[in-house]
């Protein structure tokens, strides 16, 4: 598209303080200790991770907390090589939906510990069903990225 006319550059920076609330606070504190917490619904008999304050299916308040497995299966993945402004991290990244053992929903996170040169090299290590395990950062601050990524189990 031709740019005959001027443009003005404008960056909008807005600071935010997001309240984590009781449920996320407890979940994040768990991450600090290298634990992944989920909550379990007594009615639906389902386990959700990250921990939820209520069951999205039957809307019951969830009070039963359990430490979930740190290993599971890849359900689907995507290879991203495009950078966008303010991206947390640099491409290439592989994002994946992972079903941790014993849970009833997928966890969204990153795959690592593999050759990420191209989608083809990724395909050699990761498929639907590949087992992966959480790899933790040594320094943890109570944040989703305390888990560096999930790596294929040897």
């Amino acid at each position: 598209m031709k740019k005959d006319y001027n443009t003005i550059d404008n960056v909008i920076r807005l600071p935010h303080k997001y309240a984590a609330g009781p449920t996320f606070t407890k979940f994040y504190n768990g991450l600090k200790e290298a634990k992944i917490y989920g909550t379990s619904c007594p009615a639906c008999k389902k386990v959700f991770v990250p921990a939820r304050s209520f069951c999205p299916g039957c809307l019951t308040n969830l009070e039963e907390w359990i430490e979930v497995a740190q290993e599971g299966e890849v359900v689907s993945w995507a290879y991203s090589n495009k950078e966008f402004f303010g991206m947390p991290g640099k491409p290439p990244v592989v994002i994946a939906l992972i079903r941790l053992d014993g849970t009833d929903c997928e966890l969204l996170h990153l795959i690592g510990g593999i050759d990420m040169d191209s989608p083809d090299t990724v395909k050699e290590s990761i498929k639907r069903g590949t087992r992966v395990r959480a790899a933790w950062n040594d320094e943890r601050r109570g944040h989703m990225l305390d888990i560096k990524c999930f790596e294929p189990v040897a």
């Binding site: 443009t7 404008n10 960056v11 909008i12 935010h16 303010g86």
Partner: protein
């Protein structure tokens, strides 16, 4: 109701870059600013002079392509002295934002009043009055931007 911060607070900043298109009308208006000219457009239907220059009259919905240079002097319609700051504020306080009716135009022009010490409120109160005549003062270096006019100062 203030509840103590018992729970975590995640601090973060959303930064989003924009490149806004000026289009033909703003482009021409700001080229005028570079030459120390303030352009308006006249509506052929209602005969009003709209400033800054518009591409169409928002009341008659006709294209306004009759461009004219308008007066750089006018009277203050209303003003507000701003003495607080929010994150990323484009103009730093203290400043006076004002609606100015430039002579022989029909819409009010929004800009700054300046040319005197704004830090003493009593001085401001004595100096600025509604209806007061003011005149544009230009910056030395102009870039084709609304702030090429430094402010409007009392005549």
């Amino acid at each position: 109701m203030e509840k103590k911060h018992e729970y975590l607070i995640l601090e973060d900043e959303v930064a989003i870059p924009y490149e806004n298109a000026y289009g033909p009308t703003w482009t021409r208006f700001f080229e005028g600013m570079k030459e120390e000219k303030i352009y308006g457009t006249r509506c052929s239907k209602c005969n009003r002079v709209l400033v800054p220059a518009r591409s169409f009259c928002p009341r008659c919905f006709v294209e306004t392509d009759n461009w004219l240079e308008v007066s750089q002097e006018g009277a203050i319609v209303s003003w507000a002295l701003t003495d607080y700051e929010y994150f990323g504020m484009p103009t730093k306080p203290p400043f006076i934002g004002a609606l100015i009716k430039l002579d022989n135009t029909d819409t009010s022009f929004l800009h700054l009043i300046g040319g005197f010490d704004l830090r003493d409120f009593d001085t401001v109160r004595k100096t600025v009055k509604n209806g007061m005549k003011v005149k544009a003062v230009w910056k030395e270096e102009k870039t084709g931007h609304i702030m090429d006019i430094r402010y409007f100062e009392p005549v």
